[in-house]
C-alpha cells in the first residue's frame, strides 16, 4: 500500500493506482473525459490536471500513478487555470448548440464548463464545420462537431469489445470519430458508446430529440430479455419508456448492455401487445373476461375439483407475481399442478450455480453448447474481459458447432448433436476413470464416442486440474446435469461453478417462489392434459407451442383441454384456440424482483403505468378468489430475499446422486440440426430493432450451402421424423460443416416441432412477394 496526501487528506491505496482513483476513494471529484476504469488510462483529454508537489508542471491525474509520500492538490489557482485553459481549447470548435443537443443537462462538457471553464472564449474565427447527426449504425448517431476526442468509444469498441468498427480519422482539429470505410457498425455492443460518450457526440436514435433530463422519470430497472439480467435505468416520459441506459453497479457491473436490451424496450408499445382482452374469439373488456374466467374456475373447481386446473408460469413475470400465483393455486384452488415454461430440458441444481465473480476468477471456462455472444451477450463481454486480463485463462467449448469467435477464441470440441454429455463424460473417464462418481456416470457409456483422443484427454485434464472452473451450459441435454454433479464431486474443494444460459430469464425466481423449474413437471402436466385429466390450463406469460421442446405434445394437450386461458404481453401462438387471453403488466410497469442466471435477486422499479387494461397478476387472482367465494388475502409481507444469502437465492446442499449418462445413438445423415437461443429472436417483438433482426436467421456452412446450391442465403425445408419446417438460412463461414443452426423459439420456423439431430434438407425456391 502506498500512502499519499490529496488536498490535505491522507489515503493509502494499492501500488499502481492512478491519482484520479485515489481521489475518488476520498470522495474528491477530479474531472475526466477520456479515463474510464474499464478501459484504462490514456491521457487524451487533459481535463484531469492536478498539481503534484515537486513536479515542475501540472500532471494528469488519470495517467500518473501514485507514489509514496506524494502530495497532490486537486484545486488551487494553478490547477483551476490549467483546467480553464483546457476547456477553452475544447470549446474552440464546439458548436455550443446545447438547446438542440440530447445530452444537454446531463453533459460533462456543460458541467465542467460551469464549474471550471472560462466565461467566454477568445477565439473569434469561424468554427470548423463537421458532420452533424451522421449515422454510426441504425441506433447510434454521431455529431462530430461536439466531440472532444476522448477516444472512449474508439477504445471501447477496439479493445474492450474487440470489434474495431469505430476509428479516429484526420489530423489535428480535423480529427473526427467515424466508422471504418463509412460502413455501419454491426456490433451488438455498439449502443454502449452512447453511455460512454461524456459529451453529446454519440446519441441514441430512438431517443433523439425525445426528452430532456428534467422532464423524464428515470427508474432503476432490470433488463429481463435474457438470463443475464443487466442493471438498467429506464427513462419514462409521458407514460412511455423512451430510453434504456446501462446502470453501473460498483464492484459488480460496468453497466454494459447489448443492443437487444438497450433498444428493445419498445415491446411495451408494440401494436401486437395485448392491452384489452379476448374472450372466445372476440375483444372484450378485461374486467368482463376476468369475471368469466372466475366463473369457469369455480365451475371446474366444483364439478371436477381444483386439481383439474394447471398453471404454467413463464415470460417476463416477476418473482412476486409467481409467488402470488403459487399461493392462489395452493390455498384457493388446491391444485399442485404447477410448472415453469421451459424450452430446454436441462436443470441446474442451485448448489452448482455460479456467479459472474466466478467468471472473473476462473482459470478455465467451458462452454457446454452455449454461445454467449448469441445467448447472453454481456457474459461474452465479461469472458473477453477475463481473457484480456488473464491471457492464460483456458476457454473450452463442448458443443455440436464451433463456438470460436474472433473476439473470443474458444477451443471447441465439436460433437454430434446430443453427444455433449457423452463427450464430457468420456473426457472425465480418461483422466479420472477410477473415481467412483465417474465410474457411475460412465456405466452405460460405450467407448465409441467419436472425438479426437488427444483433445478429449486435454479437455479431461482441464476439467480436473484447473483451479477455478466455470462452465456455461445451454441446457439442451438433461444428462449434462449428472456430468456436472460428478465433476463437482471429483474436483472436491476446488470451485466448480455453472452459469445456466437458458430462459425464461426469471426461471430461478419462479423456483424461489415455489414453482418447480424441472421440465418433468411441465411434461407431466401436458401428458395429463393429453389424457384428459386437466380441465383448465392457465398459461401466465408462457407460450408452450413456441417454447416447449415437443410441439406435438403441446398440440395434443391443447386439443383435449376445454378451458385454455392465457395471460401475457403478447397473444400466444395459435391464439384462436384460447378461450380467454388477458393482458399482462410487464417489467418497468410494475414493481418486481427478478432472478438472473447467477441466482441474484434484483429489483426493477416501475417507471410508467401499464398500458390499456393491463393489470398485475395480483388483481386477476383477487377477482378470481372472489368468484370462488373464498376469503383470500395475499401475504403482503413475503420477501424473496433471504436473511443469510443476501441478494442471492438461498444455497442448497450439493447433490451427490450421479445418474449414468445414457449413450446417444448416432443417426446416419449428412446434416445435423443444432439449436440455441438468439437474443434478437426471443419472440418479443421490437420495431426499433427490426433492422437488426436477421432476415435469414438460420446458419449454414459454406460447404453445405454449396452442396445444396445456396449462394448467400436461401430457404430450406428440414425434415426429421416425418415432421418438417421451413427455415430461411444464411451462409456463415464460421459454421461447422455438417451442421445447420436454427434459433429456438421462432414462430415461422418452430424448431421444437422437429427437435435437434440429423435432418434431411431440401432447398426451396424463395418466393418474393412484389
Amino acid at each position: 500500500m502506498i500512502r499519499l496526501t490529496i488536498d490535505g487528506q491522507e489515503v493509502s491505496v494499492p501500488e499502481g493506482t492512478m491519482i484520479a482513483d485515489a481521489a475518488a476513494k476520498l470522495g474528491i471529484d477530479v474531472p475526466v473525459y477520456c479515463y474510464h476504469e474499464a478501459l484504462g488510462p490514456l491521457g487524451a483529454c487533459r481535463m484531469c490536471l492536478v498539481q503534484v508537489e515537486k513536479m515542475p508542471k501540472l500532471a494528469t491525474a488519470c495517467t500518473t500513478a501514485v507514489s509514496e509520500g506524494m502530495v497532490v492538490h486537486t484545486s488551487n489557482p494553478q490547477v483551476d487555470k490549467g483546467r480553464k485553459g483546457v476547456l477553452e481549447f475544447l470549446l474552440i470548435n464546439h458548436p455550443l448548440d446545447c438547446p438542440v443537443c440530447d445530452k444537454g443537462g446531463e453533459c460533462f462538457l456543460q458541467d465542467y464548463t460551469f464549474q471550471y471553464g472560462p466565461p467566454a472564449g477568445r477565439f473569434q474565427e469561424p468554427k470548423i464545420q463537421k458532420v452533424k447527426d451522421g449515422p454510426i449504425n441504425e441506433f447510434v448517431l454521431v455529431d462530430q462537431e461536439r466531440c472532444v476526442l476522448c477516444q472512449r468509444c474508439v477504445r471501447y469498441m477496439g479493445e474492450y469489445v474487440g470489434e474495431p468498427q469505430l476509428l479516429l480519422e484526420g489530423r489535428g482539429v480535423e480529427t473526427v470519430v467515424t466508422t471504418v470505410d463509412g460502413q455501419p457498425a454491426t456490433s451488438q455492443f455498439a449502443g454502449n458508446v452512447i453511455d460512454l460518450c461524456p459529451v453529446g457526440a454519440l446519441l441514441s436514435v430512438p431517443y433523439h430529440h425525445k426528452a430532456r433530463p428534467w422532464n423524464i422519470e428515470r427508474q432503476e430497472s432490470i433488463c429481463t430479455l435474457c438470463p443475464v439480467g443487466c442493471t438498467t435505468l429506464a427513462t419514462g416520459r409521458d407514460g412511455h419508456v423512451v430510453r434504456v441506459e446501462g446502470r453501473p453497479v460498483p464492484d459488480y457491473s460496468w453497466g454494459w448492455l447489448c443492443d437487444r436490451g438497450r433498444f428493445g424496450f419498445d415491446f411495451a408499445v408494440n401494436p401486437a401487445r395485448v392491452t384489452a382482452s379476448w374472450l372466445d374469439g372476440h375483444e372484450e373488456a378485461a374486467a368482463r373476461t376476468t369475471r368469466q374466467v372466475g366463473q369457469w374456475l369455480s365451475q371446474v373447481a366444483q364439478e371436477q375439483g381444483g386439481d383439474h386446473i394447471a398453471m404454467v408460469v413463464g415470460g417476463l413475470h416477476s418473482t412476486e407475481e409467481a409467488y402470488q400465483l403459487k399461493r392462489f393455486a395452493e390455498d384457493v384452488l388446491k391444485t399442485r399442478r404447477l410448472a415453469v415454461s421451459r424450452d430446454v430440458p436441462g436443470y441446474l441444481p442451485r448448489a452448482l450455480n455460479g456467479t459472474f465473480a466466478d467468471l472473473d476468477a476462473a482459470d478455465a471456462v467451458v462452454l457446454i453448447g452455449s454461445d454467449p455472444y448469441d445467448a447472453v451477450p454481456v457474459v461474452h463481454l465479461r469472458l473477453r474481459d477475463r481473457k484480456r486480463h488473464a491471457p492464460s485463462t483456458q476457454i473450452w467449448g463442448v458443443a455440436p458447432r464451433n463456438l470460436h469467435r474472433e473476439t473470443l477464441p474458444v477451443n471447441t470440441l465439436v460433437t454430434h448433436a446430443g453427444f455433449e454429455a457423452a463427450v464430457m463424460a468420456a473426457a472425465l473417464k480418461r483422466v479420472a476413470g477410477t473415481h467412483e462418481a465417474v465410474a457411475r456416470l460412465t456405466a452405460d457409456l460405450v467407448d465409441s464416442v467419436e472425438a479426437d483422443p488427444a483433445q478429449l484427454e486435454a479437455l479431461g485434464q482441464e476439467l480436473i486440474s484447473s483451479q477455478h472452473l466455470t462452465l456455461l451450459w445451454d441446457g439442451q441435454e438433461s444428462d449434462v446435469e449428472s456430468v456436472l454433479v460428478a465433476l463437482a464431486t471429483v474436483r472436491g474443494d476446488k470451485p466448480t461453478r455453472v452459469l445456466p444460459t437458458w430462459g425464461p430469464s426469471n426461471w430461478r425466481g419462479f423456483e424461489r417462489a415455489g414453482f418447480s423449474a424441472r421440465i418433468e413437471d411441465l411434461t407431466r402436466i401436458l401428458e395429463d392434459a393429453r389424457d384428459g385429466k386437466i380441465a383448465m390450463l392457465m398459461l401466465f406469460g408462457a407460450d408452450l407451442l413456441r417454447e416447449y421442446p415437443d410441439q406435438e405434445l403441446v398440440r395434443q394437450a391443447y386439443d383435449k383441454v376445454p378451458f385454455l386461458i392465457a395471460e401475457g404481453l403478447f397473444p400466444p401462438m395459435d391464439a384462436e384456440r384460447f378461450r380467454a387471453i388477458l393482458p399482462q403488466a410487464g417489467p418497468s410497469e410494475v414493481y418486481g424482483t427478478y432472478v438472473n442466471m447467477e441466482g441474484r435477486l434484483q429489483v426493477a422499479s416501475p417507471s410508467v403505468q401499464p398500458p390499456g387494461q393491463a393489470r398485475p397478476v395480483k388483481s386477476y387472482i383477487t377477482a378470481w378468489a372472489h368468484a370462488l367465494k373464498t376469503s383470500f388475502t395475499l401475504p403482503e409481507d413475503w420477501d424473496p430475499y433471504d436473511d443469510e444469502s443476501g441478494d442471492l437465492v438461498p444455497a442448497e446442499p450439493m447433490p451427490t446422486a450421479v445418474r449414468a449418462v445414457s449413450m446417444p445413438v448416432q443417426e446416419a445423415g449428412e446434416l445435423e440440426l443444432v439449436t440455441g437461443p438468439l437474443v434478437v429472436e426471443d419472440g418479443i417483438p421490437s420495431d426499433i430493432l427490426k433492422p437488426r433482426i436477421p432476415e435469414y436467421p438460420g446458419r449454414l456452412s459454406p460447404e453445405d450451402a454449396a452442396r445444396m446450391g445456396i449462394e448467400n442465403h436461401g430457404l430450406v425445408r428440414l425434415t426429421r421424423q416425418g415432421q418438417s419446417i421451413e427455415v430461411a438460412v444464411a451462409v456463415d463461414a464460421a459454421m461447422t460443416p455438417g451442421r445447420i443452426f436454427v434459433p429456438l423459439g421462432m414462430v415461422q420456423s418452430p424448431v421444437n416441432k422437429i427437435g435437434s439431430g440429423v435432418v434431411e434438407a431440401v432447398r426451396l425456391e424463395e418466393v418474393h412477394s412484389a
Binding site: 448548440d97 446545447c98 438547446p99 438542440v100 444537454g104 447527426d133 433523439h208 430529440h209 425525445k210 426528452a211 430532456r212 428534467w214 422532464n215 409521458d238
Partner: protein, 145 residues
C-alpha cells in the same frame, strides 16, 4: 336647518368640483390604456426572417417555469421540410394561461429568443380548456384592437 343646507351645499360642491377634474378611469372597452412595451402579458412564439420558427423545443422554459404552466415536446423535422432553423423543433408547445403567473422567466431562459411575452393581456374565456394556448395560437400573436 341652515346647518343642513350648508352640509348639502358642501357635498354638492365636492361633486361639481370633481366633474371638471381629469379622469383616472377609462371607459373600457371603448377606450384602452397604453401599456409599456415591456409589459408581460400573453406569450408568443417568434419566427425568423425566413419564416422558420425560432423555438427548437429545448424545454428550458418548461424547466424554469415556477408554475409548471409550460409543456414542450420536441421532435426531429425531416431534412427537406424544416420547421425551425435547425432539425429540432417543438411539435407541441402549450402554455396554461390560468397557471401562468407572467413572471417572464421563460422569456429570460429561452436561448433562441423564441418565446416572448407580449403586452396583450385580454385573457378571458368561457372554459378552462380555452385558456390553454397551443402552438398554433402562440405562433399568431394576438393584437389588441
Amino acid at each position: 336647518m341652515l346647518d343642513g343646507i350648508k352640509a348639502i351645499a358642501k357635498g354638492l360642491g365636492t361633486t361639481f368640483k370633481a366633474l371638471t377634474e381629469p379622469r383616472d378611469t377609462y371607459p373600457y372597452p371603448e377606450k384602452r390604456r397604453e401599456y409599456s412595451p415591456r409589459y408581460r402579458g400573453k406569450h408568443m412564439l417568434a419566427k425568423d426572417a425566413d419564416g422558420h420558427e425560432l423555438c427548437v423545443g429545448c424545454g428550458l422554459c418548461e424547466a424554469v417555469c415556477p408554475a409548471h404552466a409550460i409543456r414542450v415536446v420536441a421532435a426531429e423535422a425531416p431534412s427537406d421540410k424544416p420547421v425551425s432553423w435547425t432539425n429540432r423543433y417543438s411539435i407541441d408547445y402549450e402554455v396554461d394561461l390560468i397557471r401562468c403567473i407572467f413572471c417572464g422567466m421563460c422569456e429570460e431562459a429561452c436561448p433562441t429568443n423564441a418565446v416572448r411575452l407580449t403586452p396583450f393581456n385580454e385573457l378571458a374565456a368561457y372554459d378552462r380548456e380555452a385558456m390553454i394556448a397551443d402552438k398554433e395560437e402562440l405562433l399568431r400573436p394576438a393584437i389588441r384592437k
